[in-house]
């Protein structure tokens, strides 16, 4: 059976080849050729992924009513010891296939969209090279058979994100945003790496299947060893989660995501909304068996952090005026949702949260990519990011308007759009686990509807554009991806996730909770209505509310001053104190000691060299004196 999956390697090779080709020949290739190379390679990869999904779910995947994990191939790449080896492989199981579908679909659409969006930009070929690199890395990440392969591609998506955020490299804000993104995620990756090392030291394997086989028996012995009140396994998994939290912009490692919006909008859509930022969720899901059996305490932390991030980001999103930043905080909030769903999930029959989380990841990819691409189309037309300068655009941008509205409805959880189904499952899972999670989730659902429609109304309604405005709809290469994604946002909710993706591969019976659904839709509608009252027409209500909230509003608007706190810690304390101290210490104490030794030698010699006066007569005196002394000594001994 394994040989029949050999074609899967092309899913990885093609985008990589496109990257190498575009990267090396970026000066020589005409723009159309460069984008064609990238797009064709990703389309083939997408086709192969769809084929793989079809074959897997209908034919080869199922054995004894359970979806199995299959390794298409697994090649040793680096050998540490006999048991610890980094392998590069291709794992086929429901969640990796689901992610492959998401990544290739969104990638293809974003690639096509970029033809229009990036037209005439300098470094057009470079852009497509980086996009291909990203797609390659992301797919390598999702099909990883072992922790270290995941770490390798984890770093690679990190660097492609860095390169793409810093695409406008002559803009200082883009440069610093890209640095920030890389360094914050790198810091989180340190945790991931330490977690991998701990796990592999005790479990003696990097392999996902081995680690999670027999419900994590390989690493469960770590449960016995404790360190500072928690078992080593919990520490390891917590560290692994740190890596995931960094990539997925969970509180308190979220600070890079809003700034990452400095990149071109297609990048934000692909990397910072649909694919890379959910890698953290995917990581936890991939290790879910181990989390669930080995460290339920860590899973609780995951749920708390997810819930808090969801709320935290949703509150901030209500105050921002940059269209992409609102979307960024919304992404953070939705990922918080997914994390929370994973955290509250149990195993097997109680595994609703897991399924819901994956489901939300799937639907979110569509509507969030759509939102970002729509925002891109808007920015492309009006050349500003500030929603206060927009308004009344529905007449000028009809397709963008409709698709944006669909996405807003989907994210707000209005039936029958995709977000409704997944959000409903998440809230049901949260309700089973604890009312506090449900409460937070419920509140966030309302806030989400509010800030999304705030965005929608301020952009498309509100005041009218001046009559002479030259705003016009984007070219069809940009609108067609919007329409496709809109279709996805409408219909993705009807995928029977409970049958396909569950914690243990067996079918999970999910029931539809009418009362819960009604309540969720209710709060979403409340949010929409409030934002309609506030923002559909120009009014001073929002400002009055902001004034009445005073300091709280300012704190929220400044994102709770987290950037400033981090800046203080890194710049003042680490660079300003530690690093400056070391630089001083090295130059003055360590080097000073060395120089002092040299100086001492020179000083002694300068003292001694006075004896070498160059005056022959002095030498003769000394000589005579010496002779005299020797003579006397000999004389003394002879006389005895």
């Amino acid at each position: 059976m394994e040989t029949s999956l050999n074609y899967t390697i092309w899913i990885l090779i093609l985008p990589f080849a496109a990257f190498v080709l575009n990267g090396l020949l970026s000066k020589r290739l005409p723009n159309q050729v460069a984008s064609a190379i990238s797009i064709i390679s990703i389309l083939i990869a997408a086709a192969l992924s769809y084929y793989l999904a079809f074959v897997y779910f209908t034919d080869i995947g199922k054995a004894a009513e359970t979806f199995m994990a299959i390794k298409a191939f697994d090649q040793t790449w680096l050998r540490f010891t006999e048991s610890l080896q980094i392998k590069i492989g291709f794992l086929v199981d429901p969640i990796s296939i689901m992610m492959l579908i998401v990544v290739t679909t969104v990638s293809s659409l974003v690639f096509i969209y970029s033809i229009g969006y990036m037209k005439g930009e300098k470094g057009y070929n470079r852009f497509f090279a980086f996009l291909s690199l990203f797609s390659f890395s992301m797919m390598g990440l999702v099909v990883a058979t072992n922790l270290f392969q995941m770490y390798i591609f984890w770093e690679l998506v990190g660097v492609s994100s860095f390169l793409l955020i810093g695409y406008y490299y002559d803009k200082p804000s883009a440069v610093s945003a890209s640095k920030k993104a890389f360094i914050v995620t790198r810091f989180a990756d340190l945790g991931f790496l330490l977690g991998i090392l701990l796990l592999s030291y005790y479990g003696n394997s990097f392999d996902f299947l081995e680690i999670s086989s027999d419900n994590g028996a390989a690493v469960s012995q770590m449960g016995g060893i404790t360190f500072m009140g928690m078992s080593v396994l919990s520490w390891a998994l917590l560290l692994v989660f740190t890596g995931g939290a960094g990539k997925s912009a969970m509180f308190p490692l979220h600070i890079w995501l809003p700034d990452a919006m400095e990149g071109p909008t297609p990048v934000s859509a692909l990397i910072h909304a649909a694919t890379m930022v959910v890698a953290g969720v995917y990581l936890v899901a991939r290790m879910f068996t181990v989390y669930s059996f080995g460290a339920p305490d860590v899973l609780e932390i995951v749920a708390i952090i997810g819930a808090f991030s969801a709320l935290f980001a949703a509150v901030i999103a209500c105050t921002q005026f940059d269209i992409k930043r609102v979307l960024a905080f919304s992404t953070m909030s939705q990922i918080g949702y997914m994390m929370m769903a994973l955290g509250v999930s149990g195993y097997a029959a109680e595994g609703l949260g897991f399924t819901a989380s994956m489901f939300h990841l799937f639907t979110h990819a569509f509507f969030k990519a759509l939102l970002f691409l729509g925002a891109g189309a808007i920015i492309h037309s009006v050349h500003t990011n500030d929603i206060r300068e927009m308004g009344g655009l529905r007449k000028y941008l009809p397709i963008s308007h409709i698709t944006f509205l669909i996405a807003c409805l989907a994210i707000s959880g209005i039936p029958p759009f995709a977000g409704f189904f997944s959000k409903d499952e998440i809230l049901a899972a949260a309700q089973m686990h604890g009312m506090i999670y449900f409460g937070v989730g419920y509140l966030v659902a309302g806030l989400t509807a509010f800030y999304m429609f705030r965005l929608y109304f301020m952009v498309f309604w509100n005041k009218n554009q001046p009559a002479e405005s030259k705003v016009h709809e984007s070219p069809s290469v940009m609108t067609i991806p919007l329409i496709i994604l809109a279709l996805g946002s409408i219909f993705a909710g009807f995928v029977p996730f409970g049958n396909l993706i569950t914690t243990n591969g067996q079918v999970l019976e999910t029931e539809f909770h009418v009362s819960l659904a009604a309540a969720t839709v209710g709060i979403a509608l409340v949010g929409i209505v409030v934002s309609y009252l506030f923002y559909a027409k120009p009014s001073d209500r929002p400002e009055r509310i902001a004034k009445s909230l005073g300091g709280f509003y300012r704190t929220v608007y400044q994102k709770f001053y987290f950037d400033e706190i981090y800046l203080f810690i890194t710049q003042r304390i680490i660079f300003g104190i530690f690093s400056a101290f070391i630089a001083w210490f090295d130059r003055n104490i360590v080097d000073g000691t060395i120089n002092a030794i040299g100086w001492l030698t020179a000083w002694i010699s300068s003292r001694i060299k006075g004896l070498q006066s160059g005056q022959v007569q002095q030498y003769a005196y000394v000589f005579l004196g010496g002779v005299l002394i020797i003579g006397l000594v000999f004389f003394y001994y002879w006389m005895r």
């Binding site: 050998r79 540490f80 010891t81 090392l197 030291y201 630089a583």
Partner: protein, 498 residues
Amino acid sequence: MDILTLHIVVPVLTLVGISLVKGQNMTRWTAAVGMGLQLLLSVYLVFSYLDAKGISPETEVFFTRSIVWFESLNIRYDIGVDGIAVAMIMLTSIVIFTGVFASWELKNMYKEFFIALILLSAGVFGFFISQDLFLMFLFFELAVIPMYLLIGIWGSGPKEYAAMKLTLMLMGGSALLLVGILLLYFGAGALTGTPTFNLHELAAVDFPMEIQRWIFPLTFIGFGVIGALFPFHTWSPDGHSSAPTAVSMLHAGVLMKLGGYGCLKVAIYLVPEAALEMGWIFLILTGISVMYGALGVIKQTDLKYINAYSSVSHCGLVLFAILMFNQTAMNGAVLQMVSHGLMTALFFALIGMLYSRTGTRLVHEMGGLMKTLPFLSVAYVLAGLASLGLPGLSGFVAEMTIFVGAFQNSDLFHRVFTIIAISSIVVTAVYILRVVGALLLGPIKKEKFMNLKDATWYEKLATVTLLLCIVGIGLAPLWLSDMIMNSLESIINQLTGL
């Protein structure tokens, strides 16, 4: 003539050739051809080593030859290589080959420069093929002494000070080393009746602990000085910043590796018990080196200082890994030597090229070079990414091997220092990105940077050669890692007392 002796003969013949020809063009072409031949020879050596190892996997040292030199003192011309030495020889020939191209436009006393440079490389090659401590020490000195002239004459800034400091500190190290070697020699004489310098004969001698406790620190510090062991590293920033480009490349790329190699093959291989007993002292020092170097970089503004401190950090990691006393970590140490050699050579080459164009090495005076110097800038970014351990480039392979190896020691002391060392990768990312951001990205700082010329063919040749090796190791590390791993058996056996 055997292939190893050829590795010394080719540089020597190149020296003769250089002294015979006239004119800058002839000189540099002679050097390039000679070092090109040397590179081919090393590639051939790698393949023949792999072949020979494939045929007799039990043998440790290949291509051996032993010629009596001073019979009365039992000094022999003992040569031979194992996988580690092969890797280091390969590294040396790549770096010296690119180093020749990096000094292509040198105007001042070019003939003497190339002679000194290639003499230095001959010393390094001799060092790596030696199986006899006396021979090793001889070549070690041969590699260190030309450095004084190279920095003192062709350097920049306070070059006399830097040359003097560097040479004196390294000489101080070799003084300690010589005492250690003589202790080994006479110790072996006292214990077995025949004093010997031969590495493998010495390894078989079971020195009593009282002697080992002297030999280990002497040899470890002796080699550690050139391997930039804290606090004996301060020659490195001054030396590197004053040295001309090719010398910095060779020095950071290869000479500093003599330290790691020596610590592994002399200090630990010959006196394993003392190493196990006293290793923790040096582990603290190397742990400090790693973090201290990395944090020290952040406040530096001169590109060469930045790279020198980052070398302190990376070479600290080499010694750190060696002191973990297990096969994986030591494998990582050797990989790190190769990887760091390649990327630091690339760094210094690029710094030299940027300096020759912009006339400054201060980070804050540059900016936006990506626009006008795309080739050099991309190469710099790649070198930086390799340095911060990006997968797909050589640094990642080395660092991960070290970290996995270091994690095999599970007591708290080792764990703490391992975690400190691993944390340095974040600091590395910080300073690399700061430099890249300030240097290459952003708007162009000065008017005169607008019409800079990008790399010439010889600069491209040097850069691409190094980049290819970095990417090659990064993408397909298995053969190199296995080659080194197999050669570590005897050292591990020494440590475990088999």
